[in-house]
């Protein structure tokens, strides 16, 4: 139990640092801003209570907001993500439910499952975030395109980061 909490806290800190120090400085053609910090929410244990997921969402969003000076922007989007994750998990559950102790990862559920799970959540999070950022529907298609392209890049990043964790765990064992 303690190991899982510690693991999640370390993941939180590392991903927030990665986001604010590296990814926020990447802007490809003004269209693509990847937000890989969503992996914090995506990788929480499957048994996490829904209210706790929401609160972690608040803290995560606020941490990013404080460093990008956009108070509330990432927060609203991350809360939205935290609200949706249990819904998507439930929808994608295997017939007999999740086995206790499995995590939402490539290692436990395979590529197809993970890409669907992460793809849906990342896309919804990015759409919400980019529309909150624009705060208007006048440039609907441009905002939507930005969200979709950024989601793809974030998805690729998230899968790559997953591989890191998998390798590390295998070497630990």
């Amino acid at each position: 139990m303690f190991r899982i909490v510690a693991q999640n806290i370390i993941r939180f800190v590392l991903l927030v640092l990665l986001q604010i120090l590296v990814l926020n400085n990447i802007q490809l053609g003004g269209l693509i801003n990847p937000y890989a910090y969503v992996l914090v929410i995506l990788s929480l244990p499957i048994e996490t209570p829904r209210w706790l997921t929401l609160l972690i969402g608040v803290v995560l969003g606020l941490s990013i907001d404080v460093f990008t000076r956009t108070l509330g922007m990432h927060m609203t989007a991350t809360i939205f993500l935290a609200f949706l994750r249990p819904v998507v998990l439930q929808y994608m559950a295997p017939r007999d439910g999740y086995e206790y102790g499995t995590t939402a990862s490539i290692r436990d559920h395979g590529y197809l499952w993970y890409l669907t799970y992460a793809g849906i959540l990342i896309l919804l999070h990015h759409l919400f975030l980019f529309f909150v950022e624009a705060f208007e529907f006048e440039n609907f298609f441009r905002t939507g395109l930005k969200a979709i392209l950024s989601s793809l890049v974030t998805l690729v990043l998230v899968v790559i980061l997953q591989m890191f964790t998998v390798n590390r765990k295998q070497s630990q064992i």
């Binding site: 969402g57 956009t70 922007m73 609203t76 809360i79």
Partner: protein
Amino acid sequence: MRNLLNFIFRFHVAFLFLLLEVLGFFLLISYNNYHNIRAFSITNEVSGEFYGQVNEATSYLNLRDVNEQLSRENAALREMVRSSYLDTSSLFKPVFDTARVKVFEYLPAEVINGSVNKRNNYLIIDRGSSSGVKREMGVISPNGVAGVVVDVSPNYASVMSLLHGRSKVSTVIQKNGFFGLLKWDGSDPRYATLIDIPAHVNIAEGDTLLTRGASGIFPKNQLVGTIESWEINQSNRFYEIKVNLATDFRRLQHVHVVKNSKKQEIDTLIQNTTEPDV
């Protein structure tokens, strides 16, 4: 009560979600300049539409007063037109006066909502950017100065009235030409305070105060109010003059938006004026 608690408990995640999202959007709107302005102009448009409908219904109630006011203004204007003056110079009759250029244009507008009882009061008028209203245009009532446009949506505009903490009008005493700033201390919508007039200036109760037209927002010599009473600030020997405002903000309905075609020129000049390096 029990059912209510059950209901809340059953949907506690949804409630928590909504609560947190509301908090998030509150932070978003209050701490981000862009989102703040967007939200403000959306609410401006919505509330403008609503108050416009309400005003449509209630404006009939004070038609009598408005008519009286308009006919008085009409009479005053009629006295000013050329035909009401006796032409004593039969020698020269200018056909087209090229010596004068029209600087100020007036756009009639109606106040559809306004407050007088807050610390900072705004008026909403039914003219917006589609009628050519822009920020920093002056607004005058038939009786005197009313305020300055601070925000514009397509069909409505918010006007910072004189009854606002940040309102400052450069005001001149008609009889001797000394000028100071007119501010509002936030208590009584009938009175404002004129400061920066040195204590050696002769003033009397009932003296007329006019706009100075310093920044080009208001035309020169528009009535602001009359002197009601005064105190002398003993520490710096300046007057604090209590001014009886000419405009009655509690029943303001018809106003004119003042467009100054030379305003941009004045602003550019003020902005570009830097002291030369010596």
